[in-house]
């Protein structure tokens, strides 16, 4: 890679990055948090959830896939984009059955944490109450499709990090769901509880058994600090 640095702005703040770096990575390095869901460090970004949408020179782009370019203007923390992100998060909530009150992931869930950060009290769309299945066949792991947001992290992690291809999507559109690479059940696959794919779910769709509610309320990841606080260098208040 060349030594050249690229300079651009995010919400008026000058940010420097290396050629080929994505907007999201450059922002992270500069201590600016761009909300994201499907993106995970170490996996190939694919820009599918669109939560990280920013406005680059007036056009919406996924910050996790868009490379930085010299002199561009990026808008991130504006009312319009916040509204757009809230809409996406709202849709994810109504398209699944997200009952936080009995979910083991509550407090450590990235979807919930994003909703908290965006100040969402209730989704604005009507709830769909979809009919979803649960696969608890494996002795150590279960899949609860009620909570799956189709981010694809487990699919990619199983393929690229574990070298296994345990998970894959089946169906299209509203019928799309996460499936396992076996005749029928998760227990028929070669998945292991230590696989990266099992530990990468942002929500409570793929969980390890006998670990629920281990951390007491008040000490969970997002109880006190909003998601993204670790990235933000300054302590500007979150609204």
């Amino acid at each position: 890679m060349s030594e050249k640095t690229i300079t651009f702005t995010i919400d008026g703040v000058e940010v420097k990055g290396a050629p080929g770096q994505t907007i999201l990575d450059a922002a992270d390095a500069a201590g600016i948090y761009i909300p994201r869901l499907c993106h995970f460090k170490g996996l190939n970004p694919h820009g599918s959830c669109r939560v990280c949408t920013v406005i680059v020179n007036g056009r919406p782009q996924a910050a996790c896939t868009q490379p930085i370019a010299e002199g561009t203007t990026v808008e991130n923390d504006t009312e319009d984009i916040k509204k757009h992100r809230s809409n996406i998060v709202d849709m994810m909530f109504v398209e699944g059955n997200h009952f936080c009150m009995f979910c083991e992931k509550s407090g450590n869930c990235e979807l919930q944490a994003l909703a908290y950060r965006l100040g969402i009290c209730a989704p604005k769309y009507p709830f769909q109450f979809p009919d979803c299945t649960l696969d608890a066949s494996h002795p150590d792991i279960f899949i609860d499709r009620n909570r799956c947001i189709l981010c694809g992290r487990c699919v990619q992690a199983s393929k690229d990090l574990d070298g296994k291809c345990v998970f894959e999507f089946v169906g299209r559109g509203a019928e799309k769901k996460i499936a396992v690479n076996a005749e029928a059940k998760l227990s028929d696959t070669n998945v292991d509880v230590t696989d990266r794919a099992v530990n990468i779910c942002p929500v409570g769709a793929i969980l390890k058994k006998r670990e629920g509610f281990k951390i007491p309320i008040g000490e969970r990841m997002y109880d006190a600090q909003p998601i993204g606080s670790d990235i933000e260098s300054d302590t500007k208040s979150i609204k």
Binding site: F93, Y116, A122, C132
Partner: protein
């Protein structure tokens, strides 16, 4: 000036949100200085005595009585607030939303492991409200003005919201007071 009236109801809920309201501790005395309770389980007034400023609804709608009650609240309350996850998304009762009603009845009255019902009768008295096909969040039935999430919402959330609305301030909850569990 007369104190504004406040009404509360628990529909398909567990009364946990009402417990959380009581959990504001001694601020309940301040609340009684600020408002007068109308129809509510707190003072056991069964019927609206007039128009209310604020109505707090706990729980979603699982039967026709819930719907009538909710519509009655909408009619009598200037501001209607969905309090808690059951009012907002159906909550625990909504877990039956993907199970056909007949299966629910069979499990509850015929086939359940602790059920003794040799004649297989499913209760069908006129006094018993008819169950709805699904459990509906309140805003699927009437217009709801504000939402206070949580299971239950923290006492501070209820207090902050009521104080803000009673003093005509915008309802702007801080990070710690928006919780879904």
């Amino acid at each position: 000036m007369e104190k504004p009236k406040i009404a509360t109801a628990s529909l398909a809920g567990c009364f946990g949100c009402h417990m959380s309201l009581l959990d504001i501790d001694d601020r309940i005395l301040k609340l009684f200085e600020l408002v007068q309770f109308d129809k509510s389980p707190i003072d056991d007034i069964k019927k609206f005595t007039g128009q209310c400023a604020i109505g707090l609804i706990e729980g979603g709608c699982c039967n026709e009585e819930n719907v009538h009650n909710l519509q009655n609240f909408r009619k009598h309350c200037g501001i209607l607030i969905s309090v808690g996850d059951c009012a907002i998304n159906g909550g625990i009762p909504a877990m039956r939303n993907n199970i056909p009603l007949k299966e629910c009845f069979d499990e509850a009255y015929r086939d359940g492991p602790s059920v003794y019902n040799p004649e297989g009768i499913i209760p069908n008295d006129k006094e018993i409200p008819l169950l709805l096909d699904k459990v509906y969040p309140c805003h699927h039935v009437v217009k709801v003005d504000y939402y206070l999430p949580g299971c239950p919402p923290p006492a501070d959330t209820l207090w902050e919201a009521l104080v803000a609305l009673l003093s005509n301030k915008p309802l702007d909850l801080p990070y710690e007071l928006i919780k879904y569990d």
